[in-house]
């Protein structure tokens, strides 16, 4: 199997879907001539031309809104928000329009729209460019929310998102774009709404997504040497949420750590804990632990930033806590 970066995998997904379906087009800031702020759309203008790879002004609300309109008229737009921080300017279009039209039109207008954005913490980018907002979008019925952690998932999930008849928020962690991993040859998809057990284990389950999956795998490796068998679940899609896979695993291991890079308040971890206690309370041998980003705006200074962002160490400690007394 060839290896490629997440960036390349996303580029291949876009290229293949555009070749397969003339209704698919890309629109966003710097996606065409500049070839993408993170070069995800590299080479697409040359292959598909300016009709299908469209540079826009810096106008997030109309970028997403025009995507909604084009989708209502039967096209399949993939719009890029450069970063999730700027998508807040388009929040009205995403929440009040894209997520609502299918329902409030009584099923007449579905919105086959993909909103791609670089997301997550950066490196010393400060408070406005180093954030996670997946829990905001997950909150909204009508939206689907996808966050890949590997190249294979990035490609397969983006292809599914483009083919999906509903609006999909597709969040790409900006610090793992260049991570390389194996990707199968040929046309394949990864279904939305299906979690992936990235490592099997018997003592404790770490449930997480996006870049935190990589830290969870590292922590699991280290804990294995201490005789603790960790199962790592990569949710991949936060809505629809694959609750079944999570609950089955917790029933097997009897211990759980939920982890997100995002802030803790009303985050994904809170939702996972609620579902675990409801569905698997009697199976738990310890309170569920939560790992998250620190509850502050992101600081610039290197030492403070390091304290604010969770990683392998926090996951390792959390597992040790749920294993106490064993």
């Amino acid at each position: 199997m060839p290896t490629m970066s997440i960036k390349q995998a996303l580029n291949e997904a876009l290229r293949e879907e555009m070749r397969a379906d003339p209704d698919v087009f890309i629109m966003g800031e710097e996606v065409a001539e500049y070839q993408g702020a993170y070069k995800v759309t590299e080479g697409l203008l040359a292959e598909f031309g300016s009709k299908r790879v469209i540079d826009t002004p810096i106008s997030e609300e109309v970028i997403v809104g025009a995507g909604v309109g084009a989708a209502m008229a039967g096209l399949k737009p993939v719009v890029e928000m450069m970063t999730i921080n700027f998508a807040l300017l388009a929040l009205d279009q995403i929440v009040n329009h894209a997520a609502k039209y299918y329902y409030m039109s009584g099923g007449q207008y579905n919105i086959p729209l993909v909103v791609r954005a670089a997301s997550g913490v950066g490196l010393q980018l400060g408070a406005q460019h180093s954030q996670n907002f997946e829990s905001w979008f997950v909150h909204v019925p009508g939206l689907k929310v996808v966050l890949p952690a590997t190249s294979r998932d990035a490609k397969g999930l983006l292809k599914s998102a483009i083919r999906d008849p509903d609006p999909v928020i597709f969040l790409e962690h900006e610090l793992i774009y260049l991570n390389k991993s194996e990707v199968p040859d040929g046309d394949f998809t990864v279904p939305l709404g299906v979690a992936d057990v990235k490592r099997e284990g018997t003592d404790v389950t770490i449930i997480t997504y996006s870049r935190m999956v990589l830290f969870a795998l590292k922590a699991a490796e280290r804990l294995a040497k201490e005789g603790i068998s960790v199962e790592v679940i990569d949710l991949r899609t936060l809505r629809p949420l694959d609750t079944r896979t999570v609950i089955d695993s917790v029933k097997k291991t009897h211990r759980a750590v939920v982890a997100e890079e995002d802030w803790p308040m009303c985050g994904m971890g809170a939702e996972l804990i609620a579902q675990i206690q409801q569905e698997a309370f009697d199976y738990l041998d310890a309170p569920v632990e939560r790992v998250s980003g620190v509850d502050v705006p992101m600081p610039y200074a290197k030492n403070l930033e390091k304290m604010a962002v969770p990683g392998e160490e926090e996951l390792y400690s959390a597992v040790k806590r749920v294993m106490q007394g064993v």
Binding site: V68, G69, A70, M104, G106, Y109, K144
Partner: protein, 337 residues
């Protein structure tokens, strides 16, 4: 850039159009008026819930615009869209049923007064975030251009929308990309209770729009034929690739912003001044004076429309409420396939 079309052009159009077309436009204005009066009545009886924004006084705008569109053209409006939906040819009974929250409503009772949709008529809502549908109209325009088609998309909104960021982003991109969108600003002088002059640094909309390289014109929105005249120009320009086009229709709503608004921010004299120039009376007089319509036609149309509105109420009353299963229906299209 700004041009006003009325006077001579109106007289020409009166002669040019077939009598049946005049009568149909007249009938539609009367239907909208009576439908809205009934909606207001049913709202007071608490049969219609939520918010209810009536179009009374503004009938000439949407009837004039819709009268020059083709069935494959698109239109979308705001929460004050009952009239536009009717003028787009949507089933009046199903619209009333939607207001009643019934399963037979145009949006199956999921939308209500502010969210009327009909895909078979290319009527795309019913959007209740001020200015929020202008970017969407630009997207529909983009799809038309993408397919190299010659349709147009009409986007209705009020004077309140012009101070929203969405308005400026949508107009800029539409001007930049030459999209076939006709932006119709129904300037009824009030954004809810705030007069235009208290909200816009430059109340002259043509001047504001000129910054986006968009052809624009204003028109007397109480004069049906003047509106139609300008709509013809706008549609022709857009079909020929010279879009977008911005129309400011100066009009007036006789009722408050919504049924909950007694409109104490304006004087009775002001309302009366506008009522003197009532769009239905004006057109009726024009047709009678020209001999295109007789008193008997007025009576016939009046009773036909009353009968239809009664049928609407009866249909809505007799229709079932959505079944409890409908609560979870249409959240995701992937679940319906």
């Amino acid at each position: 850039m700004a041009i006003t079309r009325s006077g001579a052009h109106t007289v020409e159009l009166l002669d040019k159009l077939p009598r049946e077309e005049h009568l149909e436009m007249y009938r539609m204005m009367v239907l909208i008026r009576r439908f809205e009066e009934m909606a207001g009545k049913k709202y007071m009886e608490a049969v219609i819930g939520g918010f209810c924004h009536l179009y009374i006084g503004q009938e000439a705008v949407c009837v004039g615009i819709q009268s020059v569109l083709r069935p494959d053209d698109y239109a979308m409006g705001t929460y004050r869209e009952h009239g536009q939906a009717l003028a787009a040819g949507m089933d009046a009974r199903a619209i009333m049923a939607e207001l009643f929250g019934k399963a037979t409503g145009v949006s199956k009772g999921k939308g209500g007064s502010m969210h009327l949709f009909d895909k078979s008529r290319n009527f795309m809502g019913g959007d209740a975030i001020v200015g929020g549908h202008l970017p969407i109209a630009a997207g529909v325009g983009l799809s038309i251009k993408y397919r190299a088609a010659d349709q147009v998309c009409v986007c209705y909104f009020g004077d309140g929308a012009v101070n929203e960021g969405a308005f400026h982003e949508a107009l800029n991109i539409s001007g930049l990309w030459k999209l076939p969108v006709i932006y119709v600003c129904e300037n009824n002088l009030y954004g809810m209770g705030t007069q235009v002059t208290r909200a816009s640094a430059v109340p002259d909309l043509s001047r504001r729009v000129s910054g986006y390289g968009i052809e624009s014109a204003h028109v007397d929105g109480m004069d049906l034929l003047a509106v139609r005249n300008l709509a013809e120009v706008a549609v022709r320009e857009c079909r020929n690739g010279n879009g977008p086009y911005f129309i400011e229709a100066k009009t007036y709503r006789y009722r408050g912003h919504s049924m909950a608004d007694p409109a104490t921010y304006r004087s009775k004299d002001e309302v009366e001044e506008w009522r003197v120039r009532d769009p239905i009376n004006l057109f009726e007089r024009q047709l009678l004076d020209k001999g295109l319509m007789k008193d008997a036609d007025v009576q016939r149309i009046s009773s036909e429309v009353d009968q239809l509105v009664d049928e609407c109420v009866q249909f809505a009353e007799e229709s079932p409420a959505p079944s409890p299963d409908a609560l979870y229906e249409y959240v995701y299209a992937s679940e319906e396939i």
